[in-house]
Symmetry: C2
Subunit: 482 residues, 2 copies
């Protein structure tokens, strides 16, 4: 394995949840697998009055909670971390920061490479980007990369404004917009399944595929994120980002080649072809829901911390989408996603057309390709065989590839993969601005007339509002809980 | 389950091996599963001086050796059987036979339905057919069917002559030419796999498939069949019949509908498109072999009972075939079949083209669809996934459907299925004359110049002559022992 180039990794938002839950553990995984160059350093920036030692203790606690660590490895790892206290909103503090940074770098062979990871509240991003742009322009021969977490705006207008801010100081190829879903093993596997095999792609089109179902359900509620979530909701939080990204990988045309620009070109082409919602669509092809108190005593959404008491934010959304392109004409895509559902699962079910003119006559089941994203990773294939025995009946059987069982513990955490790719400058798993633009355009077409549809309720711990069953039944299908 | 129409089942060749090993057990399976109408009777015809009681004992012993039987069921079953002693070559004996038959029928409600099963030496078939034709013409409103076992001739000329004899007394739709391979579960499954699913057929053509391998190996030798086998050999015994039939099902175009005539029309169309062997092909695309003494003391072919001591009969054949049609242009089909091989197995391996332009770059494995016919029945699918973990490597994985494991004991014996179909008049699993004609035409193109290639030897218990490896390597492939 080639080590990643040495760099200074500057983290804004050091004291936040994401850093503790995902970033520190991911950095340790990189370190213990030998990816990290010995001259690489991590500088945590924050408002709190932490010492380097205290910061290192926080990092250690976070790593230990995620995986087994050995004594000497963790010590060497922690030595890479130091802390810088500052007020991110104060220009003067940045001068101090850059002085400190340049001093750190002077003793290391890191060639001026910089990775900025922004994990603060998003309204601070423009300020930080500006400060970096002014104080630390890109150096000749070095890389300078900005990793940012969603949300990338709240709608198209705010996303555009936000992006314009970033782009004043960073080139598009320097901006790594994280959609951690793209770092999941089975999301990356979609491209491989489709394009490293001859088996599936010839039937990957309207002539053979009847419809597609995408389910992303969570059993948890909104945790400590009430303040953020209540201004977002399922459409912005899940559909605009993860689910539309997943759809693009699943349904885009074959890219001219597999470099990140060609792939992202095709994704954008696809995203632009998702039919925008008309007023009629909002009424007939959308079901929004919000959880109320569950039978096990789970509290109602409006009683969650940080949520307005008369909040109209949706914690569940089901949609029927159509794609305006030759390949997918008249193939509906059904999406459902929600908080506090019966179970945590993410999966794609590609349902082929039934083969009505089959050898034995009569009705045969549809073929299905099920891509399981979580919790179990794998691929299942349902197809038909002759029922063994003397009669000529046709029955469905299933073949499974269970990645979780066959390669236990080998799947990479999304953030590990995302850090490696950003470090290498591989933009494949990061969203380009025009992808963001296309997805907000679609979401806006719903949001601007969402009052045309009612907000249904569902009991926490159940499978969403009953109206979502009617939604899919209208077009002759049903949710497949397999 | 609807019972089969009552009929008189007249068996010529009652005392032979096929009757004992296959027919009596299959008839019992039909009986115990409730297919047999109570007025149905089985009349065994033979030269030996057997009583009805003795015949019933023979039947009972044969059934008991094949499956568990219960006291009362077997008694009721045996009551259906009676025996008629005659010399099949004597015209006068047939008069007695028909008298006896008509007497039997008079007390039963079987409407004159007749199933004649010919299991004698094939040179007696024309005589029997003639006697039936003269003495027992088809009755209005009743069925009259002739089931015959291969060999159907020795080459095209003899097959044609043989067929002409039969056709003087029977219509084509009354002749059920048994290729017991077609009764095997996985052979019937080929049609279902291809045409009751949307998944496979779109890629079932030269653009996606690289080549096809068909292996039918037996670990046994020629048993007691030396006299027959030495005049036949692997090409006639296995390729002309079972393997070309299997290929036709696997590679024919979609039939207009799934009635037996439409299916057989497409099979014939395909069989006619297999490129006949030129002198060059016989030298370069054919390997014949004969087994010599094995390391475990297995005797050489020429030392088997009934075999000429300087016999040049092949007990092994490997061939490279090409099909002259749009769908399969430039897709080679490799066949290998032999006696006294390492293991008993029959399988089809469809090897797809490698996907050279794959997401991670580099070389990826070919997809494979493996149809396992025996001893294990099932379908395996090999395809590529992203190797779990941080790197973007592509690795092959396998999904299996094991029919033998998932439906233990449910696969029907070929003869059970064949008897049911013939009884119902379903010709689907039986070879039509023009199929026989096309396959002999192909085999003749080899036989007429077979002295242009040498007869290789191989040790009994090994995997055939080394020359067969060269045969497949010439065109850039290798035998897949998976």
């Amino acid at each position: 394995m080639r080590k990643l180039e040495p760099a200074l990794f500057i983290l804004f938002g050091t004291t936040g949840d994401l850093a503790k839950k995902k970033l520190f553990p991911a950095l340790y995984t990189l370190f213990s697998s030998g990816w990290i160059h010995p001259d690489t350093r991590v500088l945590g920036v924050g408002r709190r009055d932490w010492s380097d030692d205290y910061f290192q203790e926080v990092v250690m606690t976070s790593v230990r909670a995620s995986q087994p660590v050995t004594g000497s490895a963790i010590t060497d790892f922690l030595d890479l971390f130091s802390y810088f206290k500052m007020d991110i909103t104060r220009d003067a503090d940045y001068d101090d920061l850059w002085r400190s940074v340049n001093q750190m770098e002077s003793g290391l062979e890191i060639n001026g490479n910089r990775l900025y990871f922004l994990s603060t509240a998003p309204d601070l991003f423009p300020k930080i980007a500006q400060a970096i742009g002014k104080g630390q322009p890109a150096k000749e021969g070095a890389f300078r990369r900005l990793m940012i977490e969603k949300p990338f705006g709240h709608d198209l207008a705010s996303a555009r404004e936000f992006n314009d801010h970033l782009r004043r100081h960073f080139e598009e190829h320097e901006i790594f917009r994280i959609d951690h879903y793209l770092g999941k093993e089975m999301l990356q596997n979609i491209l491989v399944l489709r394009f490293a095999n001859q088996l599936f792609e010839p039937a990957w089109q309207k002539e053979y595929i009847d419809h597609i179902q995408i389910t992303v359900s969570e059993d948890i509620g909104i945790d400590q994120r009430g303040g953020y979530y209540d201004r977002s909701g399922a459409l912005r939080d899940m559909v605009q980002s993860h689910i539309l990204q997943l759809m693009a990988l699943l349904m885009m045309n074959r890219p001219a080649s597999f470099d990140s620009e060609s792939i992202r070109n095709e994704k954008v082409e696809f995203l632009k072809k998702i039919c925008l919602f008309t007023e009629q669509d909002v009424m007939s092809s959308l079901v929004l829901g919000q959880y109320v108190e569950g039978s096990e005593g789970e509290c109602a959404y409006v009683d969650e911390k940080g949520v307005e008491e008369n909040s109209k934010t949706e914690t569940y959304a089901a949609l029927r989408l159509w794609i305006d392109c030759e390949r997918w004409q008249d193939v509906p895509v059904y999406i459902r996603t929600g908080k506090r559902m019966e179970s945590k699962q993410a999966k794609i079910t590609v349902v082929y057309k039934k083969q009505n003119d089959a050898p034995a006559g009569g009705d045969v089941d549809a073929n299905m390709l099920i891509i399981r994203i979580q919790p179990r990773e794998g691929v299942d294939l349902r197809y038909n065989i002759k029922k063994p025995g003397t009669v000529y009946d046709i029955i469905p059987v299933e073949m499974s590839f269970c990645q979780t069982c066959q390669f236990p513990g080998q799947s990479a955490e999304a953030y590990v993969k995302l850090l490696i790719d950003a470090w290498r400058g591989d933009l494949n798993l990061f969203a380009r601005w025009d992808e963001i633009e296309a997805t907000w355009t679609f979401i806006d077409s719903i949001q601007k007339q969402r009052e045309k549809t009612e907000l249904h309720t569902y009991a926490a711990g159940k499978n969403g509002p009953a109206a979502s069953d009617s939604l899919i039944e209208q077009t002759g299908h049903e949710w497949l809980d397999i």
